[in-house]
């Protein structure tokens, strides 16, 4: 507590600059990697391998004229991009980059705030981020942004449930909501000697749900329905330009980095890793290195997804979320809770492993039979038109319905 003032400022700055730099590199890397996947070259003019392209783009956005369309709802229209960026930056506050660092006689962890309820903080900031997209869509007062905003909010709220349940199994398994406890719990495996105790292994279904959910939550391809260029022009940010559009872009890429950092922290041990018996003076760098490597792996995964997969259809996206991911995550919370409860009762590890294995098989059976069958049912089965009948006492809402009625009448 009695640290000098520069310590918290230093912590905040280091984390902020680190994530900002990773985001900038991501934007460049994405363009290069996707270009390579498509047999193009990608940006290669500014700096070595075009690495400074992001800076130039940023400068362009700052100096671009930023007109405000006349029909927009102004306070909300201006606030919306800010909300996204702020929520993105706030959620990284609880993620540790590394362990304790000693500088100028002060020892402190490389995290802005190790909250008691750090896990919930991440989820809360994710849910605040929905407002950005949603309000941008609404306040633009234009059809495409509205459609994009409504789509994305429904998508984000749905996948938040799946993600929250996946995180719940981590919390139950670790027995704490504090991020540093969760990382400490993954230091060594309780099941297999000498292996890292990454939660991704015992909680594999939850891990899977979280990884799929985080792509949807970040609004990235193949789940970028909110800004589907082919159908919605640009989605929620159609009416934005200049730096305000830039802020949406920053928030989106920021989200990729944040989500990668969160999944690494919750499931892959965060900064845990071998130290090779190095002296403490050098060893503090290693956790940061491990964390960065794992995170970059996930960022790369995001980029590959974008390059490799076509956009998912919206109704399939929703049925995947509600009918497959949420049940799996829910069942795995129960399995995890049972496992933990048996451990508290003092049941031997082997018995627990057998029980957990049986439960795992059960979930797998559920996944193999029910899941895809339902998903297929949502799309392949010839279905009746999902178009609702207009309420009889209401005037026809649009030309579509009017035409509909004329055709039905004769």
């Amino acid at each position: 507590m009695d640290q000098p003032l520069w310590v918290p400022i230093f912590q905040t700055l280091v984390v902020f600059v680190y994530f900002l730099l990773v985001t900038a590199v991501l934007i460049w890397a994405e363009r290069r990697v996707v270009a390579r996947m498509q047999h193009r070259v990608g940006p290669n003019r500014v700096g070595p391998f075009g690495a400074l392209q992001t800076l130039v783009d940023g400068a362009k956005m700052f100096f671009k004229e930023d007109p405000t369309p006349g029909m927009v709802n102004n306070p909300v229209y201006t606030i919306a991009p800010l909300v996204g960026v702020i929520a993105g930056f706030l959620s990284i506050a609880v993620i540790p980059l590394g362990f304790d660092v000693t500088l100028f006689g002060e020892t402190f962890p490389l995290v802005v705030a190790d909250l008691n309820v750090g896990v919930l903080w991440i989820l809360a900031m994710g849910s605040i981020h929905v407002y950005s997209v949603f309000l941008a869509g609404w306040s633009s007062n234009s059809p495409y942004p509205l459609l994009g905003g409504i789509r994305s909010s429904a998508q984000m709220v749905s996948y938040e449930i799946a993600q929250g349940l996946a995180v719940a199994s981590v919390v139950v398994y670790a027995g704490s909501l504090r991020i540093s406890d969760i990382i400490a719990g993954q230091q060594t495996s309780t099941l297999i000697e000498g292996m890292p105790g990454w939660y991704a292994i015992p909680l594999f279904p939850a891990f899977l749900v979280f990884v799929i959910g985080m792509v949807a939550e970040a609004g990235r391809p193949p789940f970028d329905l909110a800004e589907a260029e082919g159908e919605l022009v640009g989605g929620f940010h159609t009416e934005y330009s200049g730096m305000r559009f830039g802020m949406f872009m920053l928030a989106e890429f920021m989200n990729v980095v944040t989500m990668s950092a969160i999944v690494v922290t919750l499931f892959l041990g965060g900064p845990n890793g071998p130290t090779f018996g190095l002296p403490d003076a050098i060893a503090w760098v290693l956790p940061i290195l491990w964390f960065s490597l794992k995170m970059i792996g996930f960022i790369f995964f995001f980029i590959l997804l974008r390059g490799a997969l076509p956009r998912y259809r919206y109704d399939r996206l929703m049925s995947l979320g509600w009918k497959v991911l949420i049940p799996i995550a829910l069942v795995w919370v129960l399995v995890t809770a049972g496992f933990v409860l048996l451990a508290e009762e003092g049941i031997a590890t082997t018995v627990r492993l057998v029980l957990a294995g049986a439960a795992g098989l059960l979930v797998l059976a559920l996944l193999v039979t029910a899941g895809p069958a339902r998903l297929a049912g949502a799309s392949d089965r010839p279905k009746r038109a999902p178009i609702p009948t207009p309420a009889p006492d209401r005037a026809p809402a649009s030309r579509h319905v009017e035409r509909d009625r004329e055709e039905v009448a004769p």
Binding site: M71, Y131, N141, R151, S153, G234, I387, A397, H400
Partner: protein
């Protein structure tokens, strides 16, 4: 004021930051609450409700209940209000809905309901939590509810292993308060079932299919629905006639704003949204 002083004393001496935060969040909460019912634009009102909920989360945080504070943000501000706004934007709000209620009976009933609510809250809180006897120093006994309880600090009540108070809260919820907890769950279930019944729609017969949409299967229900609203919109969104606002396109951002505000729109852009689309 006495309570506040007591709270500050309980925290180990008068903590200036706590008092300042208390006032900031309280003023914010009350101000936002007033704005919720006075703002004409219903979406602005809902956003003020979000601000109000966030301010209350801040109050929880100053009371050192970090779990409750974050859950407030997560559940109320993050989930429930998003659904609120979602419904407002999806269904849209006609300008008629924003008119003042003029029927005397309704206004009387509203006043009566408000008065009853305030009375119930005052009855529950005044005396129980505001009288000097409710003040309780560290380690002294006080009569509250079922019997005398010993006043302990938050850390002591939580126990050594439970820094965020989650275990404490969970235990209380599933033992002492299990009855209200179950009642609340029942209430939510009933509300959900009611909503499902109200929202259920009859599907069209196959011969009634709308041929306007090439492949109805390719569209989810919500989009098909939106498409109907959408068909109207491009023409209307660009017009500058105040009477022809795109009210049906969800809740228009301009719905409910007063006419003077509308008159101040830049007249140079006759069709602003069209012009922008051309640019993009």
């Amino acid at each position: 004021m006495e309570l506040l002083a007591q709270a500050a004393e309980g925290a180990g001496g008068a903590n200036l930051a706590e008092v300042v935060l208390f006032w900031v969040f309280s003023v914010l909460a009350v101000g936002a609450a007033i704005a919720v019912i006075t703002l004409r634009n219903i979406v602005h009102g809902a956003l003020m409700l979000v601000l109000n909920l966030l301010a209350i989360a801040g109050l929880y945080l100053t009371l050192e209940s970090s779990f409750l504070g974050i859950v407030q943000v997560l559940v109320y501000a993050g989930a429930i209000m998003v659904l609120f706004l979602f419904v407002i934007m999806l269904l849209g709000v006609d300008n008629d809905d924003l008119l003042k209620e003029t029927r005397v009976a309704t206004r009387f009933a509203a006043a009566l309901g408000g008065a009853l609510l305030v009375a119930a809250l005052l009855f529950a809180f005044v005396g129980t939590y505001t009288s000097p006897s409710s003040l309780c120093g560290q380690g002294t006994g006080v009569v509250a509810g079922a019997g005398e309880v010993l006043c302990v600090g938050l850390a002591e009540a939580y126990g050594p292993d439970d820094r965020s108070g989650v275990a404490f809260l969970g235990l209380r919820l599933f033992t002492r308060f299990v009855w209200p907890f179950q009642l609340a769950a029942l209430l939510l279930t009933v509300a959900t079932i009611g909503a499902v019944i109200l929202a259920r729609r009859r599907d069209l017969e196959p011969e009634d299919l709308d041929v306007g949409v090439a492949d109805p299967d390719a569209l989810p229900p919500s989009d098909a629905e939106l498409l109907r609203a959408d068909a109207d919109a491009p023409g209307e969104a660009g017009t500058d006639v105040p009477g022809e606002e795109p009210a049906r396109l969800g809740a228009s951002p301009l719905a409910g704003s007063d006419p003077t505000e509308r008159g101040e729109r830049p007249t140079g852009h006759d069709r602003p949204s069209d012009a922008d689309r051309g640019e993009g």
